[in-house]
Amino acid sequence: MTAQQIIFLVVAAVTLIAGISVVTSRNLIHSALWLILTLAGVAVFYVLLNAGFFAVIQVVVYIGAIAILFIFAVMLTRRVMQDTGPQSNSYWWLGALIALLLFAGIALIFTNWQGFKALPPVMLDQSGKLVQLGLSLVSPDKYLLPFELASVLLVAGMIGAIYVAGEKKQ
């Protein structure tokens, strides 16, 4: 067992426990804090996958922006949903069953697939990847259109959020 594998197993265990706590914890603030731990664990996986840029994006966008947005939303809507009483509906067993069935289906597909146990191929040009990514996002014959669409989507999301959540003057 190499050091990478040990790191993977420890981080995976912590991340999965944190993920389960996100969906089961009664206090929503605690849920949001567990969500931050889950996102941090996922960032470690990006580092293990030689995609350090995504670890940085994960910390900046997910932990820095989205998780804080969640905490603000929880605090803005706090009084109605007190932390007492059940936080899940009466069909929780059905939800668990569907989730387990989905996992069984995914596992079935994976075990029948040849490349499932593949080891990572050697990465030759590791430091040039970020340059390559940046260039491919602005070159018209690669991913310029998806990139621009994503930015238009972000602007639309921002305008929509301001319009929907803003206080209307009667």
Partner: protein, 102 residues
């Protein structure tokens, strides 16, 4: 060396946890949090497939960036909707949002 199967299994478990949360939680904000878990597992899948199947290209990472942008837009609009509903109906429970229920 970590085999691809570990990442895929981890992402599948995380996705199923998120699915359970979406189906079961009452609070709409908790449902959005579970959707974030599912989106994260999708991004792990994209990047691990990029790393193990096509590391010479860059398409996996470009797709992952688009998923990041979609997640950010989704969560901002979703939370704005929840806050707007909370203002009008004083509730964030998903079952109470039944104005358009048939």
């Amino acid at each position: 060396m970590i085999p691809l199967s570990w990442y895929l299994t981890f992402a599948a478990i995380l996705f199923c946890i998120g699915l359970y949360g979406v189906l079961v939680r009452k609070n709409a904000i908790a449902i959005l949090m579970s959707i974030e878990l599912m989106l994260n597992s999708v991004i792990i899948n994209l990047i691990s497939f990029w790393r193990y199947r096509a590391p010479e290209g860059i398409s996996g990472q470009a797709f992952a960036i688009v998923v990041f942008a979609v997640a950010a837009a989704e969560v901002s609009v979703g939370l704005a909707l929840i806050i707007s509903i909370y203002r009008r109906r004083k509730s964030v429970v998903a079952e109470d949002m039944n104005l358009m229920k048939w």
